[in-house]
Amino acid sequence: MLVEIVVCVFLVIGALFGLVGSFGLLKLQDTMQRLHAPTKATTLGIGGVLIASMLYFLLIKDSFSFHELMITLFLFLTAPISANFLAQTHISLRMKQSDLPESGGAYGWSLFDDPPVMEKPSEPAAPTQAPH
């Protein structure tokens, strides 16, 4: 009984944060602001559901599964990367260099500026074909 209550609490918390994250997409004004909602609020949303699932299987079904941990791991690996891709695409399509602050160094942001020229290590002489 107590276990079921705890599982339910985690489910409700998860669902609540998932809802808030999706509501954020609707409410916030521009692309960069909208990016904040799914990268954060939804993490805890999914986290809550996963914790509930883990507790349920561990305490009620008496079986332990690693899958929830794996989902968490993949989520934490992929969420920042997809957010970063969206941000980069948004900047290069919709924004000008003058909209962004200075990078503070000799080189500007990588979307607008070429990287510094690296000193190439001297290449080894091309292998000559050995005569037969």
Partner: protein, 163 residues
């Protein structure tokens, strides 16, 4: 010879562990298959990992992971409160330039991911020389404080972890 065959032992071991967790059954066959996959995948993807990230202090990694997890929970609540109760026209979003002291690509990747997952900030892009990172803050009254917070809270610890 062994270095060449197993360029990244840690990557191979973690891939094997991920495989075991995915099939969710620890049997001898799965361990052998997981080990095989770990070795082969690490070997095939070796060209993408030219450098070797050196972790100086594994205990600091654990501390960092727990700090970030706590911050993720805090971030979620903060963002939820902003979304629910802050009128959108009162939101003060800002672009923040954070100069980097970290140099290794792995460390910068971890920092960028951490910035995205934690309170009110999303990392957007790097300067083309890799000496600064561009961060977008959803709502802040004091961009300088956000910058200093990122530097002192996360970058300092990552500097200690990656030598």
């Amino acid at each position: 010879m062994l270095r060449k065959l197993v360029p990244h032992p840690f990557l191979a071991v973690s891939l094997a562990c991920v495989w075991l967790a995915l099939v969710n059954k620890i049997t001898l066959g799965n361990i052998i298959l997981g080990g095989f996959l770990g070795l082969v995948i690490a070997l095939i993807t070796a060209p993408y990992w030219p450098g070797k990230p050196r972790v100086r202090d594994p205990f600091k990694v654990v501390g960092f992971v727990f700090l970030v997890m706590w911050d993720i929970v805090v971030a979620n609540v903060q963002i939820a409160l902003i979304i629910l109760f802050k009128p959108t026209d009162k939101l003060k979003s800002a672009w923040i330039t954070v100069p980097l002291e970290l140099t290794s690509p792995e460390a910068i990747t971890v920092l960028a991911g951490t910035i995205t997952m934690t309170p009110g900030t999303v990392s957007a892009t790097l300067s083309s020389c890799g000496r600064a990172i561009l961060v977008h803050a959803l709502h802040t009254d004091d961009p300088i404080a956000v910058r200093d917070d990122i530097k002192s809270r996360y970058e300092k610890r990552l500097l200690e972890i990656f030598s």
